[in-house]
Structure formats: structure tokens, C-alpha cells
């Protein structure tokens, strides 16, 4: 049951790393999308209804917490699973993320293998 996965990071290099870590999922039929900021992320989520979103916390304007809270507040998008990408050791971030309703956290620097394993698990891919 491959689905759709959205990568959100304002930093192009990190976005590319995330994409490259996850691109093998495309072989399993997963559709990979990406967005470069919070607004684009919200638009894409509302339009494409991804199953899983890897969402960077630190973004200008609309940050990851805001996007997460908005997604979880909307009955149409509430079921989208959100994985927040936070900086290592930012416990405060974690608490804010919990308040915003995030499903999971991964810390940066992320382990590419963890990232893919997490995506596979959330997408229900063996």
C-alpha cells in the first residue's frame, strides 16, 4: 500500500539529502513530494493529502510547529502523520511539538537508515 510522502525543509541541501535518503521508496511505488517552506507545505498537504510528512521545525515565517498545528487542527488533514525534524538535544522543541500534535520526532543529524525505516513503517511498507 504505497502512498505519498512529503518532505518539507527550507534548506535546499537538507531537502536534497532527505530526498536522496528516501528516493528508493519510489521503487516501491511511493510518491515523493517536496516543499520549501511552511506555506507551500500546507498548500501541498491540502491538495495532495500525503500519508506522511517529514517536517523541519526551523523554517522562516511559518515554522514546523505552526504547520503541524494547522494540519492537526483541520479535520480533513488531521490523519496525516507528521514527523518533526528537530535539532539534537532540543527538548523544548519536543515539548512544543507534542503540544502541536506531532506523531513522531527525528533528530538532526538524522540517520538516513532511520529515516527510511521510519517512512516505511509509517507507510506500512514491509
Amino acid at each position: 500500500m504505497p502512498g505519498t510522502l512529503l518532505i518539507v525543509d527550507d534548506e535546499p541541501h537538507i531537502r536534497m539529502l532527505l530526498e536522496q535518503s528516501l528516493e528508493e521508496l519510489e521503487d516501491a511505488g511511493v510518491r515523493l513530494l517536496s516543499a520549501a517552506d511552511g506555506d507551500e507545505a500546507l498548500d501541498t498537504i491540502r491538495r495532495e493529502r500525503p500519508d506522511v510528512v517529514f517536517l523541519d521545525v526551523m523554517m522562516p515565517h511559518r515554522n514546523g510547529f505552526d504547520v503541524c498545528a494547522a494540519v492537526k487542527a483541520d479535520p480533513d488533514t488531521r490523519s496525516v502523520k507528521i514527523v518533526l525534524l528537530t535539532a539534537k538535544g532540543q527538548e523544548v522543541d519536543r515539548q512544543r511539538g507534542e503540544a502541536a500534535g506531532a506523531d513522531l520526532y527525528l533528530t538532526k543529524p538524522f540517520d538516513p537508515d532511520d529515516l527510511r525505516a521510519t517512512a516505511e513503517r509509517l507507510l506500512g511498507i514491509e
Binding site: 536534497m16 536522496q20 535518503s21 543529524p109 538524522f110 540517520d111 538516513p112
Partner: protein
């Protein structure tokens, strides 16, 4: 789990469709080309741009021009132009489009390689974080190897993993194993391989093509090195025909092995220091138990005033003294087991008990020691001997004694003269048939009998000089002549000996017992053992 190194990414992975399309869009208006297409190696169109201005009628019969798109000399797709009119294959437009696409592909490829390297760094950094958390979180030595293997198979996928520690004489113990349980033959194979790998100072990769090695044919190992020492090794294996481990895998396993080795070594040192602390506690306990074997109150009387001192070079001693009363007779003993440490202490305790049990029924000192020797020879393990000075002090001043290989006790007279009481037999524990004679000496009021062990006379100062019998004799003689009490003589000896030895480490146990012939009127004092 990491990407197979060297595998060429597909064209569409290098340049997504929208980027390919954007590049073609730049060329479309420039040419009388009916259709532009980029195809992958399987011939599927990844992107297509039609020049609508030149609709179907134009050039329908003109053959398309096809040129391969290559990366590092390898074809990864095709650029296809369907011109509206016959076009030279070397046409500038075709060359330009081809060149732009290939350059874009080369740039994308380089970007990917950089990204791959960055991802590899991410893995390593993440591994370092994880290992820091997993391995330094107060993990016990016994649980560490399994944790290390869990991490190893997590970062470098393999169905089988093994951790060997070089902590026994057999040269390698399987401390943890993952997967392929029960394949004992295979395990032996890999143990041999890891030992070969452990001898080297770096990770290694190989493929064993022998049929009997099929279960573990593809191997990767890394030594566990703590400082300059190889403390074991890690090995991962895959069955024959599996993907060979990559240099990146080797690097990851090496990074893990380096941290694991340090953690294992630290845990080992920690365990050793705990064990040492436990031993120290037990020895302290043994010291206390042994101290209690020495009489805390000596049976002084108006006839004999007793004082003694005992000091252990280590936590436990082979020296001892004893003093009991049997009717009107005071029985005193000083002994020295010919060794130090725990075994000597146990033999000392045994000797004391056997002597006490033997010194009954008015046996003379020679018979007591003869009897004790026979009993101790039956019980003593090889190489355990004890020298004894054993004396029976009668209230009239008569001293009957046996000297079993012990350094001669001194009799210091109040008039300043001195006698040494010679041996009456060999050391105890040597010959179960040995017999010990008895000698008699009479002490007048104010005379002193001094029993001591060689730890007193052979005590050394920091420069290695011996205290010596002469200095002991002088001290005793002076104090007896000065009519000092038994306790005062012992105390003076302790002080003098301590001053002589200074900061030097005590090498041997030291014991002294002084029996001063009383006037029959004086109230005696006694002294408890001290260290």
C-alpha cells in the same frame, strides 16, 4: 542498508522530469523540430516536448535523430529529435542540446555524490551519538558485546554477526552472536577468520569461495582495539552470492569497533576495580578476624608480667602470639609461618588452635610441639611451615621451653647479662616424625624473656639496612636494667622500630612478646595487640 556503492543512478533520479522538461523548453522554440524526447535506457519516454507549430503534416516521413546521453562514458538514456525536415546528424542545434543535457547530468551526478558523502557523514555522526548513548550508559561488561552486535547489524546489515573477546588463554571467546544460531561449523570458520582479522590492525573484507564456507562466504571484520592492544574482533557475514560488503561498511564497522573496544575495556577495568575493592574488603575482614585470634588481655600474674605486640606486613599475617594460663603455669608462644598472605594466615590460625589443643594435661613444651607437629603435618598443605618458640612459665621463675626452628628467644637479666635460648628441634610442618626437646632456664625477679619473630630483627629502613638482633638486644638490655615494665619494653621497641623503618614499606610481619619475672607482689599490666 546504505546504497550500493558505484551503482549508477537512473537518469530520472539525476534529473527529475520537470528539470529535464525545463531544459528542453529552452530549445523547442529555436528549431524546426517536430518532437523532442528524452528516453531512459529501457526506451521509455521520460519527457516529451512537441513543436505544435510544425504539426503532423510536416516531416511525418522524416526519420528521428537519436543520440545517446552518457555519464562517465556509460549510456544512461537517449535524446531524440524528430525534425520537421531532414536534418544533419551533426546539426549545431542537436549538438548544443545534447551538450547541455550531458552537462546538466554531470553536474547532477556530482551533486548526488556530494550528497551521498554527506549522508555517509550523517550516518557516522549519528552512529557516534548513538554509541555514546548506548555504550557509555553504565552498561555492564556482560551485556556490552550483545549491545555492540545489535548496533553492528543495525548500521551494516548482515544476517550473521559475531563478537570475539581475547580474554582467555584459548585465544578468543565468543562473547556474543547474532543470527545463524546452531551453525557451529560456520561459527568456527568465522572465529578463525576473526582471529586472522584481529591480528591486523584494520577492518577487512573478503569472500570465501570454498563450498564449506558458503553460509558465511561474504565477510567483513574489524578488530576491537583499545589503545595499542587488540582485545577482540567483530565479524559480520552474509551467505555466498550476497552483496559484498563495501568500503563504507568497513568504515562504519571500524568506527563502531573503535568505540566498542574502548567501552569494553572501560567496563572491564571497572569490573576489575570492583573486584579489587571486594578483595580489599575481604582482606580487611580477615585482618579483623585474625586480630581477634590474638589474646586481647594477656594472663599476667604477680609472677609474670606479659606484654606483646603484633604487626602484619599485609592485611593478614603469618605471625602470631598466644598466652594462656594452665593452673599456676603461664603458657606463651610466638610463631612465624614461613610465608605471608592469606594462606599463611590460615595456617597460622590452624597452628594456634592445634597448639592450644596440644598444650594440655601438663605436657612439657617439647611434647606439646611434637604433638602439634604431627597433627599439622597431617593437615598442612605442601610447603607450609611454621617456626615456634613455646614456653611454659612456672610461678617460681622456671621456664621450660621448646624452640622449633625459631630465632633464639632472649633472656635479659636484671644484672645486664643476656642469654639466647637455642633451638630444640626443626621447624614445624617439615617432618611428621620430628621430635622436639625441652630446655629449662630459671629467671630471677626483674629478668625478662623476650620472644620475637624475624620480622623485628630483619625490618629494613628506606636504605635497605636491617634493624638487626644487636639493636634489639641493646634495647631490651637497657630497659630491663632500668627496671622498666614489660609493657614499657614493648612500647619502646615499637617506637624504636618505627623510627628506624621510617617510610619504608614493611616487608614481613613482626611480633614480640615480653614476659618479665615479677617480684610476686607487683600488679601486672598487659597490652592488647596492635598493628
Amino acid at each position: 542498508m546504505s546504497r550500493e556503492p558505484g551503482a549508477r543512478p537512473s537518469l530520472v533520479r539525476l534529473l527529475p522530469r520537470h528539470e529535464l522538461g525545463a531544459l528542453l523548453d529552452a530549445f523547442v522554440p529555436l528549431s524546426p523540430v517536430r518532437r523532442w524526447r528524452v528516453l531512459d535506457t529501457a526506451g521509455a519516454a521520460l519527457v516529451e516536448r512537441g513543436g505544435e507549430a510544425h504539426a503532423a503534416a510536416d516531416g511525418a516521413g522524416v526519420a528521428p535523430l537519436v543520440t545517446p546521453l552518457t555519464l562517465d562514458g556509460e549510456a544512461i538514456g537517449t535524446l531524440e529529435l524528430a525534425p520537421a525536415a531532414p536534418l544533419d546528424a551533426g546539426h549545431a542545434l542537436l549538438r548544443a542540446a545534447h551538450s547541455v543535457l550531458e552537462q546538466a547530468l554531470a553536474a547532477a551526478s556530482m551533486r548526488r555524490e556530494l550528497a551521498s558523502e554527506t549522508l555517509e557523514r550523517y550516518r557516522e555522526v549519528h552512529l557516534a551519538y548513538r554509541l555514546g548513548e548506548v555504550l557509555t550508559g553504565g552498561v555492564e561488561l556482560a551485556a556490552l558485546p550483545a549491545r555492540v552486535l545489535d548496533e553492528a547489524v543495525r548500521v551494516v546489515q548482515a544476517p550473521y554477526a559475531l563478537l570475539v573477546l581475547d580474554d582467555d588463554d584459548a585465544g578468543g571467546r565468543v562473547a556474543a552472536e547474532r543470527g545463524a544460531e546452531g551453525s557451529a561449523d560456520g561459527a568456527r570458520e568465522v572465529v578463525a577468520a576473526i582471529r586472522a582479522g584481529s591480528a591486523a590492525d584494520r577492518a577487512g573484507i573478503d569472500v570465501d569461495e570454498r563450498p564449506e564456507a558458503a553460509a558465511h562466504a561474504v565477510r567483513l571484520w574489524a578488530p576491537l582495539r583499545a589503545g595499542e592492544r587488540t582485545v577482540g574482533g567483530l565479524l559480520l557475514s552474509r551467505p555466498a552470492g550476497s552483496r559484498v560488503f563495501s568500503a563504507g561498511d568497513a568504515k562504519m564497522l571500524s568506527a563502531l569497533a573503535a568505540q566498542a573496544a574502548t567501552s569494553i575495556e572501560n567496563a572491564r577495568l571497572h569490573a576489575a576495580s570492583l573486584e579489587q575493592a571486594r578483595m580489599a574488603r575481604e582482606l580487611q575482614l580477615a585482618h579483623e578476624v585474625q586480630s581477634r585470634l590474638m589474646p586481647t588481655v594477656l594472663p599476667s600474674s604477680t609472677s609474670w608480667q606479659l606484654a606483646a605486640w603484633w604487626s602484619a606486613a599485609r592485611e593478614v599475617a603469618g605471625d602470631f602470639y598466644d598466652a594462656t594460663r594452665q593452673g599456676e603455669t603461664t603458657v606463651v608462644t610466638v610463631g612465624d609461618v614461613a610465608d605471608k598472605g592469606m594462606a599463611a594466615a590460615l595456617f597460622m590460625a590452624l597452628t594456634r588452635s592445634v597448639l592450644r589443643a596440644s598444650a594440655v594435661d601438663g605436657r612439657d613444651p617439647g611434647d606439646v610441639v611434637t604433638r602439634a607437629n604431627a597433627l599439622l603435618c597431617a593437615d598442612a598443605s605442601d610447603g607450609m611451615f611454621v617456626t615456634l618458640a613455646h614456653a611454659h612459665l612456672a610461678s617460681d621463675g622456671t621456664v621450660r621451653y621448646a624452640n622449633a626452628g625459631h630465632n633464639p628467644p632472649l633472656v635479659a637479666r636484671a644484672d645486664g647479662s643476656l642469654e639466647r635460648l637455642p633451638r630444640t628441634g626443626i621447624l614445624v610442618g617439615w617432618d611428621d616424625a620430628a621430635r622436639y626437646g625441652v630446655e629449662t632456664v630459671r629467671l630471677a625477679s626483674g629478668d625478662a624473656l623476650v620472644l620475637y619473630t624475624d620480622g623485628v630483627t630483619e625490618a629494613r629502613d628506606a636504605r635497605g639496612r636491617e634493624y638487626g638482633e644487636e639493636r634489639l638486644v641493646e634495647l631490651v638490655r637497657d630497659h630491663v636494667a632500668a627496671r622498666r615494665s614489660a609493657a614499657a619494653i614493648v612500647s619502646a621497641l615499637r617506637t624504636d622500630l618505627a623510627g628506624f623503618v621510617g617510610d619504608a614499606d614493611a616487608f614481613d610481619d613482626a611480633t614480640v612478646l615480653v614476659a618479665l619475672r615479677g617480684s610476686g607482689e607487683r600488679v601486672s599490666t598487659s597490652q592488647a595487640p596492635g598493628t
